[in-house]
Symmetry: C2
Subunit: 125 residues, 2 copies
Amino acid sequence: MSADQLDLTFAALADPTRRAILARLVGGPASVTELAAPFKMTLPAVSKHLKVLERAGLIGRGRDAQWRPCSLNAVPLKDVADWVGSYRRFWDESFNRLEEYLREVQAAPSQGADDEPDQSPTGAI
Amino acid sequence: MSADQLDLTFAALADPTRRAILARLVGGPASVTELAAPFKMTLPAVSKHLKVLERAGLIGRGRDAQWRPCSLNAVPLKDVADWVGSYRRFWDESFNRLEEYLREVQAAPSQGADDEPDQSPTGAI
């Protein structure tokens, strides 16, 4: 995937309405009117979001001029997954450090209580 | 992660310079001048990108007023991976269908040649 395509995909996903539209299309193709129903939005506003999704290749539109149902195209999301997946070890490291820190924090007072029962809690600090 | 945070993350990632900055920070913390070096950009332009990344929580800045090195924070990317991962079966399906189609296309002429040697290629259509 070119950088431009990844730009389009990320930009299309940076909006809760557009992500909700994609989530709705998981259930199958839908017309603009059907997609607009859950949102307090005019049809033109929804159409604008659909155009952004279509330009990013995240939805396809039917050929029927009257209905033009929208359907999900998840293929560009694979490139998002591939891109973000290359950073997995870094967030894993962050969560591991946090886990380790929490283990240390939780272990500290009970160690103090078991090993040095005569010291005040502040003695462990 | 809230929808707002996911909006900020996706919007921050929708730019090749910002993605390149994150890729650079994989190698360790860097100053604004160091980050600007590979780009034909002014320092203020790079600073603007850093502000977007910082607001999305994708980078941290050092406290040193002189240097303020930037470092990668990959934690928000986990939520991107989680979000996009929920669509995996849809792009898998698309690629499986494509694979199946290509298998059929490749199998068709040789089947025709083996099984019906007397028919013209158009006979199989």
